[in-house]
């Protein structure tokens, strides 16, 4: 298949997505639209983790930390000074926090950029660590971010967090960023850099022996991943309109890790599919947990059941289908056509 054709098909797919969103915006109820929004954000987050872990082999458990950074920066920028005046009850905000104000696009970008900068900063010492040590150290980083958020009331409003963050993150913003994320990561992986990243993942020692500056490429992948994690966090903050330090617990990273593992480490199309599937599954499982109101008497739901099913699913995937949905394969237009032509013959 020629390159031009692929480009056209990709554009058609984006247009189709746009059409679908337009229809959805007009016809779906708020709950369904919320799920669509979550799908887009989860895909962004999972793609960025897959870049770090699936394609570069860096086992990072720090995603919640980057998301928190993006979420806080973006929220501070999009809330109006008056609103912040009302919000910071514990202690007044720093002046620059109080007066900072920016449009949504700039705020999300800023969230991503700060997350990326901090990612590069912590990546410097941490990326020298291998495998599981990196995992536990990045997990520690995320926890430290959370503790800091709790203890800097003049920046983050402490444990109370932010409420009433403007809800700019609609379908268009979220899916727009989702497409941008996908595009950037695909371009990155198709370039020579992508080959180097995969080489590092497959055999670091060999890559080093070939003269690759392993550390620099690891840092690059980690920073780009952190950027999109920050963007995802920023969008999530505006979508949910409230954030607090408790939101960025390890559970959040766990959910994203689950999407990446289920979709297949090293498969972007797998991540997209798993992102859709798991977001829907998680919402659907919410039914099990919600209390049922019966003649004013509340039958308790079963809290925790959702995560029981969810974590069981992760264990099952790891035990019985370690490569996830797609393994390392990708879904191309070509492979799609092959399926259809086989069907015809």
């Amino acid at each position: 298949m020629r390159r031009g054709q692929t480009v056209i098909l990709n554009l058609v797919a984006v247009a189709a997505l746009g059409g679908f969103l337009w229809l959805a915006e007009g016809n779906f109820d708020g709950y369904k639209i919320q799920i669509l929004n979550l799908i887009a954000i989860n895909i962004i987050l999972a793609l960025s983790l897959n870049l770090i872990y699936g394609f570069t082999g860096l086992f990072s458990l720090g995603h919640a930390g980057f998301m928190a950074i993006g979420a806080y920066i973006c929220s501070i920028l999009i809330m109006s000074p008056d609103q912040k005046d009302m919000l910071f009850l514990l202690e007044p905000a720093y002046d620059w926090v109080q007066n900072a104000h920016a449009p949504f696009l700039v705020a999300v970008l800023a969230g991503g950029l700060v997350a990326a900068a901090i990612g590069a900063l912590v990546g410097f010492p941490l990326l020298r660590l291998g495998d599981d040590y990196l995992g536990i150290a990045t997990l520690g980083f995320a926890e430290i971010i959370r503790v800091l958020a709790n203890n800097f009331p003049r920046l983050t409003n402490g444990a109370l967090g932010f409420k009433g963050i403007p809800d700019y993150a609609n379908l268009w913003w979220n899916f727009g960023w989702c497409v941008v994320t996908l595009y950037v990561i695909v371009r990155l992986l198709k370039s020579n850099t992508g080959n180097v990243l995969k080489a590092i993942r497959d055999d670091e020692a060999a890559a080093r022996a070939m003269g690759v500056n392993v550390f620099r490429y690891k840092l690059l992948s980690f920073t780009v991943g952190a950027f999109f994690a920050g963007v995802g966090g920023a969008l999530l903050a505006s979508l949910l309109t409230t954030i607090d330090p408790k939101m960025f617990l390890f559970t959040l990273t766990f959910n994203i890790l689950m999407i990446v593992v289920a979709g297949g480490l090293g498969s972007l199309s797998g991540t997209v599919m798993a992102g859709i599937g798991i977001t829907v599954l998680l919402e659907w499982l919410r039914v099990v947990e919600n209390p049922v109101d019966l003649f004013g008497y509340e039958l308790p739901g079963v809290p925790g059941m959702r995560m029981v099913v969810f974590s069981l699913a992760l264990i099952m995937i790891i035990l019985f289908r370690r490569e996830g949905l797609m393994g390392m394969r990708e879904l191309h237009w070509q492979s799609l056509f092959k399926v259809f032509s086989r069907g015809r013959a």
Binding site: F59, D132, I136, G140, T251, S311, L314, I318, R322
Partner: protein, 297 residues
Amino acid sequence: MNSATFIQHMLNSLTLGSLYALVAIGYTMVYGILRLINFAHSEMFMLGAYFVFWGITLANLPWPVAMVIAIVVTATLGIVVDQVAYRPLRDAPRISALISSIGVSFFLQNVAIVFFQAIPREVYRPQWLEDPIIMGGVRVLPLTLFVPLLSLALMLGLIWIVYRTKAGLGMRAISKDIETSYLMGVPVNRIIALTFGIGSALAAASGIMWALRYPQLQPIMGTIPGFKAFIAAVFGGIGSIQGAVIGGLALGFIEIMTVAFFPDLAGYRDAFAFVLLIAVLMFKPTGLLGERLEDKV
């Protein structure tokens, strides 16, 4: 700060430190043998405490009996987790087992939320641990002596197993070289199961005593102490039992003393350990007593 308060702080850090140490031993033993960070270990800590609670509330057992039963049940559970969730992954890439252990951790935690409910529960404390005794002008809770002493006894028992029994010899052999151990006829899977059993038993004992010290039960109570204990294991040198003990005591000491001398930093309490972790990993990744693990090419 006068000497009486200082002695109390010392006793407190000894208590906290030995609790960390008991959990850290489990992490370090499993890591030494399988190179696996067993995330589910912190749930054994939590479950141990809950089993005592239910033993007392539902079956009216006296506290010591409930404790022994809880430890045995938790140890069994640790073995079951290994057999179900880790054993099939022995030949898989290391990270697979790690992800599996994260899954098990979340699974157990949420099973606890489902069955035990998320509301914090008050813990029964035997009276003989509560009445303070005066020793040389210092008011001491028997609890702060009981915890380090019982921990010490358990650790001595462990060291006896590891260095004086055949099973312990097997453990040490496997942690040196698992392949060769197979060839030399060491019953590797049985020894690994035993390791998980012992580790979980110690974690349960720690959780039970933790519940005496901080008398509230919650399904998520294991997470933070678990992380800290793991950090203690890394600090002491992962793979080394003595290292885990030293690391645990050191961490307990650092935590209590920092808060005692700099009360302003109390809010950052949970971050100390992680800062320590990152510092250790950067400057001395093998920890205090750890052996260097070569990357095999």
